[in-house]
Subunit: 443 residues, 2 copies
Amino acid sequence: MPKKIFIIGAGLSSGSLIRYLLDQAPKEDWQIVVGDMNLALAEAKIAKNPYGKAIFFDVHDSKICEEQISKTDLVVSLLPAFLHYKAAATALKFGKNFLTASYVSPEIKALDKEIQAKNLLFLNELGADPGIDHLSAMQIFDELKAKGAEILSFKSYTGGLIAPAYDNNPWNYKFTWNPRNVVLAGQGVAKYLQDSQPKYVPYHRLFSSLEKIQIDNYGDFEGYPNRDSLIYRELYGIENIPTILRGTLRRKGFCESWNVFVQLGMTDDSYPIDHSESLTYADFLRSFLPKSDMNLKDQLEKELHFSKQTISKLDWLGIFEPTKIGLEKASPAKILQHLLESKWKLAPKDKDLLVMQHIVEYRLENKNYQLFSTMTLEGNEQETAMSQAVGLPLAVGAHLLMKNQIQGKGVQIPNKRAIYEPILKKLVDFGISFAEKVLPMKS
Amino acid sequence: MPKKIFIIGAGLSSGSLIRYLLDQAPKEDWQIVVGDMNLALAEAKIAKNPYGKAIFFDVHDSKICEEQISKTDLVVSLLPAFLHYKAAATALKFGKNFLTASYVSPEIKALDKEIQAKNLLFLNELGADPGIDHLSAMQIFDELKAKGAEILSFKSYTGGLIAPAYDNNPWNYKFTWNPRNVVLAGQGVAKYLQDSQPKYVPYHRLFSSLEKIQIDNYGDFEGYPNRDSLIYRELYGIENIPTILRGTLRRKGFCESWNVFVQLGMTDDSYPIDHSESLTYADFLRSFLPKSDMNLKDQLEKELHFSKQTISKLDWLGIFEPTKIGLEKASPAKILQHLLESKWKLAPKDKDLLVMQHIVEYRLENKNYQLFSTMTLEGNEQETAMSQAVGLPLAVGAHLLMKNQIQGKGVQIPNKRAIYEPILKKLVDFGISFAEKVLPMKS
C-alpha cells in the first residue's frame, strides 16, 4: 500500500507543490491526493497522473473531512489561513502531521500541548514569506552565533515583481499576486527597531520611508517597512539586536508615484464613492483634490508638488482620461484596483520575479561586517516564481517529513536548525538558493 | 397632581436643562424627576428643590425602567447615544413623548411607524451640534426659499473653545469637552460637496484643508471639514445645492500645530506603544521620527519642515522633556491625551466659548449675496457654554412639548418650522441667538 499525502486546495500556489510530489511518488511509493471544492481544478492539477487522485473536498463537511484525513499519512493545507483550523483539529484527532504556508493562528497555537503529546509536528509558515525568509535568516544567525559574532542589525526585504525581460511599463510593476492585497498593502502602522529604539510609521508616511537596495544583475530597488518587525526578535532568537526591519521591495521610483494614491486617500476601502458607476477616472481623481482653477496635471505638480515623472506614470494609467469607471458603489480602493488591473495585468507569456535580500551587520573579532544574502527567482514555463517559492518549501518539507528526515514536534515555524537545514539544502536543487557577499564596514 | 418630566442622566450636560425645568416647575405645576446610576449626582442637581426628585435609575433594569417611565408625562434622555434605545422602547410602550440631543440611531428610526401610530413625538438631535445648528440653518433656508432665493452654498462651522479672557496658552485651546474625542477627532474620511463635486479628504490631509473664518468681537479662526456633510443635503431639504460643508472651528494657527501629531502618527489609538510606562515624552516623540543625528527640535524643523511657531507650541507642552509618561501599554492617542490633559485643563474659574457660524451664499433677483449667521456663547458662573447649548434646547423643547406648543409626530429631528421656530424664539431669552450679516457678492 503506498503512503498517502493529502493536499487541501488546488489553487494558485499548489502547482509546484503537486508537481514535485507527483515526481517523487513512484520512487517513494506515495499516492498524492488533491482535494478542492472545485473538483475540475484538482483534476487539472493531477492531469491523470497514475500516482495522483483528485477528489471533491469541503473542509466544512465534517464527514468528508474526517474520512479523508483519517486515511492519509500527512496533511498539507493550502486553504486560506482562516480555514486551517478545522483541518488541523481533524489531523490532530487522527494523529497526522500537518503543514501550512500560513502564519500560526492563536487557535492552532492553542493545540500545541495536545500535538506534542501525540508526538506530531504541525509546521507552519513554510512558504515564501513567511517561509524561505525564516529558513535563510535563521541559518545566517546560527552560523554567525557559532563563530562568536555579535549581530548588530538585521534588515530583510522581499518583493514579488515582474521579471526584467517582461518589464515594459513605466511603473516597472505588474500584478504577480493578489491585486487587492497590493492596493491595500501597508495600511495600519509599521513597526521596526532602529538603534534600540522602536519606530512607528503611519501608513501615510510609509511610502516615503524608503531604503535603497541594490541586487546584483537586477539593479536598483527600494524597500519600505512591513507591518510589525519587532516580533521577529523573539521568533528569531535575537532578542537583544539593536536594529531589525522587515520590508517590501519595489523597483526604484515606484513608491514615490504610488504615494500619490496614498496621500490623496485613493486606497481607502472603508466607504463607497457617491455615484461611482457614472463617474470617469478623471472625476474620481478630482474628488480627492481641493478646488482649483488648474487642470488636474498642473494641480498635482504645482499645488501638491508631485514630480513630473510621477505625473507621467499616472498619465500612462489613463487616470486623467474621461473614461467611465462603471463600478457601482465602489470604494476608492476598488476603483483604483479596477484601473490598475487593466494596466498591470500579466501578459500570457510574462514571467514574474521574486527577490529576497537579508542585510545583516555583525561584529566579529573587533571588526564590523555587512553581509548581503540574496535570493532571486524567476517564473518558468510551468510555474510563477511565487508559486515555486510558496510550493517548493512545502513540498520539500513534506518529502523530508515523510522520510523522517526533519525533527520536531508541536506547533512550529521553521526557525530551528533541525528543520531549516535539510529543507534549505534540498531547495538548492530547485533553484532556490541565496548568494552571500560580505563587506567589511568602518567600525 | 403635577405633571412629571423624567430626565435620565445627571451628568455633564444636564445642569442647564434641570435648572430651567425646575425654574418653570412652580408656574407650570411640574415635578422634575432626575434619575441616574449615581444617586448622589442626581441629588446634587436637584439641590433639595421641592419641585424636584432624585432617584436611582438603571436603564438596564427593566422593572425600574418601566416603573419610572410609565408614570411620567415626558422622557428626556441624556444617556450615552448607544443606551437610548431601551428607554425609547419603554416610552413607546407606555405612550410617552421622548427627547434626546443625540443623532437618530437606526434602531430608534425603526420605531417610527409605531410612534406615529400612537401620535407621539420622539425628537432627537436637539442639543448644540446636532441641535442648534439644525434649528438655525433650517430657519435661514426656509426664509430664503420664501423670498424666492436660490441657495448656492452652505458652510457651517462649530467649535468648543476657551473664552478669550481665559485664553492664556500658545495653542489658544483648552479641553472644554471630552478630551478623548478631541484627540481622535477627524479620523476616517471627511466628505463635502464643492461646486457639485463630492470631495473626500483623508485624515492625514484634514488639518491642512482649512478655511479662514472671522467672528466679530472674537477675531480669527480656522475651520476643517467634519465627517460626512453630504447627508445634510437631504436632511435640510437642499438636495440640489452645489456646495455644502460642515466643519469644526479652532483658533487660527491651531491646526498647523495639531497636524504634527497627525502627520507623525501620534493620534493612533489602535496599538500599544512598547514599554510605554518607562518611556519619556521625548522618547515617545522620537519613536515617530526617522533616524537622525539632529536633536528633536532641529529634526522637526529642518527635516520635516514644521514651523518654528509650531515647535515652540510643542515645547510649551513639555514634549521635548525627559519626563516619564508612566502609562502602561498605552496607545499613542492615550499618551498624547495624557500629556495634553496636564496642559489644556480648564482652571476652576475658566469659562468656555461656543462658536457657530453659518455662511450661506444665495442668488436673489439676479444678484448674489453672502449671509453670515453667527452665534457665540460663553460659560457663566453656573454652567459651561457647552452645557447651556446642549441643555437649553432640550429644556425649551420639553417646555413647549408639555404645553402642546410644538407639533409633529414620529421620529424627528428639528428641521421643520413647526418645531424649530418656537424653540429658537424661546432660546433668545437665554442668550442663544444668531447675529446676521448680509454682504453683496460679485456675481
